[in-house]
Amino acid sequence: MLKALEGSQAIAQTVALCRPQVVAAYPITPQTHIVENIAKLVADGKMDCELVSVESEFSAASLVLGAASAGSRTYTASASQGILLMSEVLYNIAGLRVPMVLTCANRAISAPLSIWNDQQDSMAVRDAGWIQLYCADNQEAVDTTIQAYRIAEATELPVMVCMDGFTLTHTLEPIDIPEQDMVDSYLPPFNFKRALDPANPTSVGTLVSPDFYSEARHSHHHALLDAADEIIAADNDWKQLSGRSAGGLLSVDGPDDARIGILTLGSVFGTLSEARDEYTELPPTKLIKLRSYRPFPVDALRHACAGLTELIVLERAISPGYGGIVSAEVQMALSGKPDMPRIHSFAVGLGGRDIPLDIYRKLHAAIKVPEPRAFSIIDVEPEKLPVEDHGIESANTDSNQQRSIS
């Protein structure tokens, strides 16, 4: 049944349906409403779990690690500075191959301080060894959260469910929250084979010499690659039950004969999809929604890009001094493909800058160049830059102030 719910409220209700035994979190905008809603569910007796309000994100991540290692299903959520504070523990959780689910309410990183949305936080922990799934809308976030538990527990890998802060967490949408029975039939109780147990004592988190470290890393890497199958299976099975797919590894939306593609992560997909309906005069365009960023679906991406001559990669974070983080990986994934499209790398909507429908038109204009630009922040407003930064290239082709690269 569809209910009008705020994204955070929907996530809290969904987490409750997944029956975690231990939840630990620390408030940070824009994740706060999720934890507050969980606290209310617990207070009202609608959710039966140990909810621990810890003194930091570092302890939140550590606490759920301890709890999961002792055999409980766990949940935590954070964003931005909280994700960075957790980062040492995030690597540790993944390296120990402890399954759990974390919601990242994507937010920019300070300095300058911004509470608004981009995806620099989850990108900063891209290499922590977690599965990362990006959600385009709140229904996807709900369905992905349920699937995440199944994926985590089947693969013994932690899963980070990324949903754009404010754009999703604080937005009211009609959402279908599944019935408890359906979730129970999809998600059996957690049974962690390696749980600590006095009857069968094991030592976890030991020191390894160079004789074993490479092998541990190899296994971890391959576990992530292999998780792709489980991500697909979990989505298919969920579709059987609920009638909805959350997008597998990635999904493609648009006419088969389109020669232009735009690849996105997260909620900007909705904006572009709406814009495409609006600007019908522009050439046919495929929208590629990359849901599984880790594992990175190389084959699915190559398949999705068949027939494209231009591929725009829309970044919601940057690697200063290099440029587009996702673009670099897309470039590598497609390299060697005989009919490889030209790749255009643009960041947009950093630190919550509004992404208007008009961005779609700007993107189409920006790729009409003899050679694709290496990378640019397409919505930067040159008139706001200090004089000394005016030498930089502006990708905004609508602007008369466009300057050449020196």
């Binding site: 035994q21 621990v52 550590s62 690690l65 999961a68 409980s72 006095p198 988190g205």
Partner: protein, 335 residues
């Protein structure tokens, strides 16, 4: 009651000891240095705590010397995550066991660095939230695992690799942090200090803490022959002198109130303790006025402890600093 007067030979004692069923949480064969106080302390703690426990262990010597993959010295469910999150890992284990309705007690093990310094916040959070965890700090007064750097537990004037003496310095400039008082200020039911030199005191305190439902804390003074620069055969002697001089008060607090202390029968001058250790050798240069001053300063610290914690003994006491290390089979009857 009649006692059996049959002569007991040394051989018989050894035999009896070896056959006494005793639970050991840590096996021999680990890689600690000879005479490592921490290794002994951990063995005593796990013996007293028994098998129905789960351990969260911070990064540090104890973690490293017990678990070089693929070997492990632990006979207990044991987990190491990071250096500074042991309080939170233990809290998570406890929350999980509670949710699962299991009676297993959670122990948290950390060195002084993990406890006084980098893991202090996670420890404080765990205590404040009242988790049913016994946190044990193996206090060897420096970061030993990384090669003897000062911690906030390092005593005043001690030499470490980051507090070396020189023309401008006499070792560590600051005082040893009074962690027990800070921990007790969380109003936890039980917080105590003990020392590897007093095994029965240590065991008694572990058993006491095990019975308490709620957060408890034990700080165990554990000499490190390598870091302190003493003969590895003298670890117990050195640890005992720390207590007998008043430099390491053995005390118990309930909800931050002092409820007991180990009296000192004959307070010894601090120099008896300091001179056995290379980390204080710069204090024994008679031509250096600064050394003389520092020795007086350290003596004043010990005198202050004796007064502040009422450590002055009143004659002989079976459980004072000269009696408490005696092994009494059959209990206090023979005291």
């Amino acid at each position: 009651m009649k006692t059996n007067k049959r002569a007991v030979t040394a051989d018989m004692l050894v035999h009896l000891r070896k056959n006494q069923p005793r639970f050991e949480g840590i096996e021999s064969g680990h890689r600690a240095c000879l005479g490592c106080g921490e290794a002994l302390a951990a063995r005593l703690v796990t013996e007293a705590a028994g098998p129905e426990v789960m351990i969260a262990n911070a990064t540090g010597c104890l973690e490293i010397f017990t678990t070089p993959w693929p070997e492990s010295a632990w006979r207990l469910p044991w987990m190491h995550s990071l250096f500074e999150n042991t309080g939170a890992i233990a809290a998570g284990m406890e929350a999980a066991l509670k949710a699962q309705g299991k009676p297993t007690k959670v122990l948290a093990f950390g060195g002084d660095g993990a406890t006084f310094d980098i893991g202090f916040q996670a420890l404080s959070g765990m205590l404040e939230r009242g988790h049913n965890v016994l946190y044990v700090c193996f206090d060897n007064e420096a970061y030993m695992n990384t090669g003897i750097q000062r911690s906030s537990s390092t005593p005043h004037a001690a030499m470490t690799t980051t507090s070396p003496p020189g023309s401008e310095r006499m070792g560590k400039r600051h005082l040893k942090k009074n962690i027990l008082t800070i921990v007790a200020a969380h109003q936890i039911p039980y917080a105590a200090t003990t020392s590897v030199a007093y095994a029965s005191d240590l065991r008694k305190k572990v058993r006491r803490a095990m019975e308490i439902e709620g957060p408890t804390f034990l700080q165990i003074h554990s000499p490190c022959p390598l870091g302190w620069g003493h003969d590895s055969a003298h670890s117990i002697k050195v640890a005992r002198l720390a207590v007998q001089t008043g430099l390491f008060p053995v005390i118990e607090l309930e909800r931050s109130e002092l409820i007991g202390s180990m009296p000192i029968r004959h307070p010894r001058p601090v120099t008896d303790y300091l001179k056995l250790q290379q980390r204080f050798r710069h204090l024994f240069n008679k031509d250096d006025a600064r050394a003389v001053e520092e020795l007086a300063h350290i003596q004043a610290l010990a005198d202050h402890n004796i007064k502040h914690y009422c450590l002055d003994g009143e004659g002989m006491d079976a459980l004072d600093s000269d009696g408490a290390d005696t092994v009494r089979r059959g209990g206090m009857r023979w005291a």
